[in-house]
Symmetry: C2
Subunit: 337 residues, 2 copies
């Protein structure tokens, strides 16, 4: 849920409030769900909805990975915003003429306004838009991927993995919660700290959590159970951005990811799995963070490094056992379908 | 020669002009020399001069290393400014009462004004001050260390190395020139680039030079000959700051120094040699760059990383042969004498 600045001066480009030197994320979203029973008025229906993302955004990235792992490409189309939204909205500047070919709009804000005129909160991705009405159904990113798993089962591809199996949900939730507060959000807490003290505390929290993960993943291939789950998806989106942006731009620099051997091997294992690396665009990731956050990078200069070729080197994690897709198998469709 | 901002708006905190997106260093210094023949009016004389430095500054760092390697501590006293000069001057804020105990001044600017009232250029370190008059003699940093070697020979310690031996001067000059323009200054060219194009070009120049050094030093322990020379001193001061500030703050991020195996081993070899590592203060280095350059780090937050403990790990460069101090030996005096 990277979002635009909006009008309120205290809302940063990341939808966060800085209070007393510590970064706090605005976590109020449109919580309407798309379900089989259509309890909120939106039934699961192939071809009806459009998932709008930006390749840059880690919160949106979850949804592109899960959509691909589950094979929902035909059921839910995708619209991709460019990496550098302006002060008002994410925009479809990557599309011909700057217009999303399905929704017919230039700015994601227009779909939010269709839902709520003068929508007062951040214009965030991911957002799911109801194509017939052109209105945003939800931008509640943690629920979006869980509903892909549990509500869209009739449209899962053959061989789709169980990313959120019932018997592991409690453990996935526990791990994902710590990953969310300490890692996914922890890097932002470092980068947007309003004081040295706020930053120092955020840095210690972040690396305490990364040390915990380094230890947890030393003896097991995946975060929960012996297959890829929602928990791995959620950790991956931060790890893949770590050296490209968080290490320098957000000052998360005790080590690079490449200097944390277990996490680096774990991240490469996932990167080399279809659905993960093939949804990553390092250029758009770097452009977003370095060009949008002018409060911490006023020059808007985007670093050329780091060299990403290491992501394709052998990781050696197979020796830990486990089957990435459980009883299923990897997606084989082309990307960006 | 890190310098203060001065009044002129086009002078950055690093004494540089940015023209057309490319960074250019102001290289006009007070070129008065202290020599045995006192051709400029200043004779070599023990106890007469005070070397004013800041531990943060790479240009001043050369002089503290060479002074220690040659054992000039008794002949030339040292005054140390704090890391975060203000808009007008480096200051003696580390000293009791904020006053240099020998010169009796709070601001290095006062010594410049003793030399030239309303001195119009940057107030830079290193500067050598004539204690009797309190006036700056020179701030011409490349000449200062060469004169330590060639003019102060009568005061060199027993076992002092020949850092600028006549038979190697041509080669040292050639190597040092490329190191200066491409590496010492190259990191600043990246960090202060006024445009993406300027930065991209600067990054390519820098890493082209680092690749050259990585190759040159793969088969030889030191840059020129088989002992430490002035050329090594000049390269070291940039390498030791690389991961702490240049990698993130200046966006020199193709790799960290720790990811360039030859240069990393070479830098550790020097760091572990008396005169090098014992003149490094990482806290002051980081504080300087991150707090003074508000144009590229407006928050003034100083990163906690990277972990510097790797500097003391074995480097394995002994196998390349060579004798660091040639016929001499390492300095054994305490630091900061």
């Amino acid at each position: 849920m990277e979002q635009n600045t909006g009008a309120a001066a205290e809302v940063s480009t990341e939808g966060a409030y800085v209070t007393g030197g510590e970064y706090t994320r605005d976590t109020t979203y449109i919580e309407t769900r798309i379900t089989r029973d259509a309890v909120d008025g939106y039934p699961v229906e192939a071809g009806r909805y459009r998932l709008v993302v930006a390749r840059a955004c880690p919160w949106a990235h979850r949804s592109t990975i899960v959509r691909r792992l589950l094979g929902l490409e035909d059921a839910i189309s995708i619209g991709v915003c460019g990496p550098t939204h302006d002060a008002r909205s994410w925009t479809f500047d990557l599309d011909p003429g700057g217009v999303d070919p399905v929704l017919g709009i230039e700015r994601l804000q227009q779909a939010y306004f269709r839902r709520t005129p003068d929508y007062p909160r951040g214009i965030t991705v991911p957002a799911i838009v109801d194509v017939p009405t052109g209105a945003v159904v939800t931008n509640n990113f943690p629920q979006i991927t869980l509903d892909f798993s549990s509500e869209w089962v009739d449209f899962h591809r053959d061989g789709a993995p169980a990313l959120y199996p019932e018997d592991l949900q409690a453990e996935i939730d526990t791990v994902a919660q710590r990953v969310y507060t300490e890692v996914n959000n922890g890097v932002y807490r470092c980068g947007f700290a309003g004081s040295q003290e706020g930053y120092d505390a955020a840095y210690d929290r972040l690396f305490t959590a990364l040390d915990w993960l380094e230890e947890r993943l030393a003896g097991q291939r995946f975060l929960v159970g012996d297959t890829i789950t929602e928990a791995d998806v959620r950790l991956f989106t931060t790890l893949v951005r770590f050296d490209a942006v968080y290490h320098g731009h957000f000052k998360c620099n005790r080590q690079k990811l490449t200097e944390m051997p277990v996490l680096w091997a774990y991240a490469r294992d996932l990167f080399q799995t279809p659905g993960f690396g093939d949804t990553v665009n390092f250029d758009q990731i770097k452009a977003h963070y370095y060009m949008v956050h002018t409060d911490i990078n006023p020059t808007k200069v985007v670093p050329k490094g780091p060299d990403p070729s290491g992501w394709l080197t052998p990781h050696g994690r197979e020796k830990l056992g486990g089957r990435p897709f459980g009883a299923g198998w990897a997606p084989t469709r082309p990307v960006d379908a």
